[in-house]
């Protein structure tokens, strides 16, 4: 019974580069969430997937951020033209039921130089 996995665990990039962060949810979990954790802002919701569709994208901070989910499983969060303020830990969570318990992955620490 593997939990939520995320890769890479750490990513260092230069300002202006694009990055992709990956999330593998728990098998069978139809709901998938991306959150961001930073010192100044705490834990913030980014986007929610139900299956392959994203009914709630309200937390994406700008159009540089996008995410997709394929096959109702793996999700990728893409940040284009990274800025220093994008530096944070990006957390993925999945849940079996809508509004149910969310299981979190270990996160990807993104550092933008």
């Amino acid at each position: 019974g593997a939990g939520v996995s995320q890769s890479p665990s750490n990513k260092v990039t230069e300002k202006g580069k694009d990055v992709e962060l990956r999330c593998d949810p728990i098998s069978g979990h139809t709901a998938l969430y991306w959150y961001r954790q930073s010192l100044g802002q705490g834990l913030e919701f980014l986007i929610y997937f139900q299956g392959n569709s994203a009914p709630d994208k309200s937390g994406l901070p700008s159009d540089r951020f996008s995410a997709e989910r394929t096959g109702g499983s793996v999700s990728t969060l893409t940040i284009q033209r990274t800025q220093q303020e994008d530096s944070a830990v990006y957390l993925c969570a999945s849940s079996l039921q809508v509004r149910g318990e969310q299981f979190f992955g270990p996160g990807t620490r993104l550092t933008v130089l």
Partner: protein, 113 residues
């Protein structure tokens, strides 16, 4: 707007002493409430949740929380703290019009010997 407030940024408790971490929320209907714990370098782990029913809920690691609608509170308690409880604790509520979590800013717990 919905919000979760954790008034205490940092608390220090002696090992063996009791603990209470405060959480207040603003919400228009019956909330779904959670407490998560994050140890250094670790992901978020669910301690307990409240959806409905008995207002005193039991969680893992000897924690409990009480939902008080009249006070809009969901405080976390433990009768006797262990050094391994030192971590950051987050209270969260499910978004009213959605399923994502809204987190408080967290309370860091230090345990002194």
């Amino acid at each position: 707007a919905q919000s979760v407030t954790q008034p205490d940024i940092h608390i220090t408790v002696s090992e063996g002493a009791s603990l209470e971490l405060r959480c207040n929320y603003s919400y228009g209907a019956t909330p779904y409430l959670f407490w998560y714990v994050q140890s250094p370098g670790q992901g978020l782990q669910l301690l307990l949740k409240y959806f409905s029913g008995d207002t005193l809920v039991q969680g893992i690691k000897g924690f409990e929380a009480e939902f008080k609608r009249s006070q809009s509170s969901f405080n976390l308690r433990k009768p006797s703290v262990h050094w391994s409880d030192a971590a950051e604790y987050f209270c969260a509520v499910v978004k009213q019009a959605g399923t994502a979590l809204i987190f408080g800013k967290g309370t860091t717990l230090s345990v002194s010997s």
